[in-house]
Amino acid sequence: MQPTLQAKNISKQFPGTLALDNAQLELLTGEIHAVMGENGAGKSTLMKILSGVYSADSGEIYLDGRSISPSNPREALMLGIGIVHQELSVIPTLTVAENIFPGHLPTNFLGMVNYRQLFHDTQHVLEKMQVHVNPRALVETLSIANQQLVEITKALSSNCKVLILDEPTSALTDSEADRLLGLLRRLADEGVSILYISHKLKEIFAIADRVTVLRDGRYIGTEKVSNITPDHVIRMMVGRELGMMYPPKSQKTGAALLNVRDLRLPYSERGNSFELYEGEVLAFAGLIGSGRSELARALFGADPKAEGEIVLNGTPINIQSPKDAIELGIGYLPEDRKAAGLFLDMSIKLNVEAAVIEEVSMGGFVAPPKERTLAEQYVKRLNISTPSIEQEVRRLSGGNQQKALVAKWLSIKPKLLIVDEPTRGIDVGAKKEIHFLLRALADSGVGIIIISSELPEVLGMSDRILVMHEGVIAAEFSAADATEENIIRAASGQKSE
């Protein structure tokens, strides 16, 4: 069978790095083809070349056997190649319909937009896709998952043959991701060829027909998913045995560290009570919007606090702001590291010391030797690869950015560390390092609360799991009893039998 899309010997040189080195790819009609590789492997670059964002330095692209060289995304779309980028490109202040047909809005004889026609067409397209959103709704009012579906609908509205998705599920919960994967399966069955980039092995094995692995810009191989195991793919990606993704769990837990009594979130009727022990890793599972982050932010004083009683080390505490929490030894690593965690244009040094400026100061003035010592200590301890502590955080890879953020919280010497999606969007190697680091921290007596939408991470990291549903803790599992199935059941509000 002739492949729908074929890329041969694609090379692309960026200043300082050979992003693609004779890479190749072959996409059959109606298949879901996963592209995998660590951060920096060249996946996104290859996708951007296929969709006309970049042009290749050398190599050929064939669509249905015809040589093509799209010079911009619009041209690629005309040829039938659509892409949904990792960062959504919907326009939040416009309606769903206007987002789906941006370049070809139906107009009346005066050249004005014919909204009746537009909404009607949009309704039709959405129904065909089985996406249930109102064409007249403003995109900013939709959930991230629905925004993503709008973006996919937009790509498909121009009848594309090839749909490229770059990490479409990184911001979705498992159930939302399942819905998306179901849609992709249907599209593939209708003959759309899908290129699917993801870090999530489970998804790939659930949905993809074949997988191509890239490493350091080079083509490593293409395999039928049914013929291989996840370990095999990881070996192809890293070129070495990765070993265990998760550290061994702790054998002992210490005294009670945190006691939360009846903490009620502003929109919820019932309160939440739980305790955390020294040296314990407690996971919060649940769907996005189930109140996990809100609960964490309430504990940390980041949002106007819900009512309730919090006892730390046997003493009732009253936290009004993050400053109070930090003084009590509570750290919070937010889920969106770029928007809420890092000072991207500042150096690693300034990022690490942000929460402890007083500690690197003397008499009200910052002491450069103390700053250096602090930053160098954490760069070494967390194995942050950077030429210098003066390096801007923006210039680091995702994994190293996340490590710099972790360093900021380690520097407050926390008793309680809350980490919200600590490994989202970072490569496998860095992910493993952060897992082991968190466990080592727990073993030193720190209590850790981990919020994660990746169930393997929840199961792999935690000693105990609390599942939230609609603002309330719905179930508790010990690590031994927890399975993906009973977590999902509790998260979606079903009673466990």
Partner: protein
Amino acid sequence: MDDATALHQASNRDDTIKTPNLLTRLLQVRELALILLIIVIGAALHLITGRFFTTPNLNAISLGFATSAIIVFGMTAALVSGGFDLSVGSVFAMGGVAAAVALRADLPIPLAMLCGVGSGILAGLINGLLITKVQINPFITTLGMLGIARGVSLAITEGSPLAQLPTDFLIYGQGKILGIPNLILIALITILIGDILMRRSSAFRQIYYVGGNEEAARLSGINVDRVKLGVYVLSAMLAALAGVLSVSRFTVADPGAGSGEELRIIAACIIGGCSLRGGKGTVIGGLLGLIFVGFINNGMILLRVPVYWQQLAMGVVLLLAVGFDTFSQRWQGRSRGKKTV
């Protein structure tokens, strides 16, 4: 992954990154590049006109921007915090008028000067509270204050300048110590203190965090509202102080003084390395930006360029400076990448 991250990956893997040569590194420091430019321009003007580096001319230039230099400290803080203060020109006039009114009511001189500065502190408090508590953005808030402070000055004076001020008061703006005008000394001290505080004080360091990423700053335990409030109080206070000193220099409180000053000072700070996005900039940089603009202005006067062309030249200089900066940053990013291969 985009090309930028690809670049970091490459540079992360490679531990043998060569540091750029000394000259390139020095030129990356905005202040040094500006100093070099200022010297070049000064030398060129001296060669052409033969009277640029003369004591009277330099004295005239320095006096010309001494009061602006005082305001530069506050504006730098505002810009670094991610905002700006459009009201400094009006507050400058209001401070002067308030001091003059107090003097003519026979208040003791120090108290009268305090009245002037106090009117600035009040304006800054209002700015800061509106920005942090009511959450009106800095543009609108300080634009409003620009009108209010100017209106207050005009209303109090009924539009005509206040003269007949006690001669003892004039010493601040007209006196000299060791042959150097007081005004220049006060400006230099303000700039120096400001620069040290912004660079090294742990309290002022918080301004950079707030401007770098407000939400991250808040979650790092920084009281963002207090920082912003402080910034706007500082900015308006210094503007009013400059206004009081200016009255002392010119022996008259003009309700129309300092009009357009805010834009000149913002331009100088931007040329000196501040960013409208916040998070970066230094006080010395702002001063150098001011000197740079001042030299060009003075040069045009010496070269008898018609006054009508001067504003146009200022606009071009601002765009060139910022354009060059944006361009050179992109270029540096590339060359840094190349060195890692």
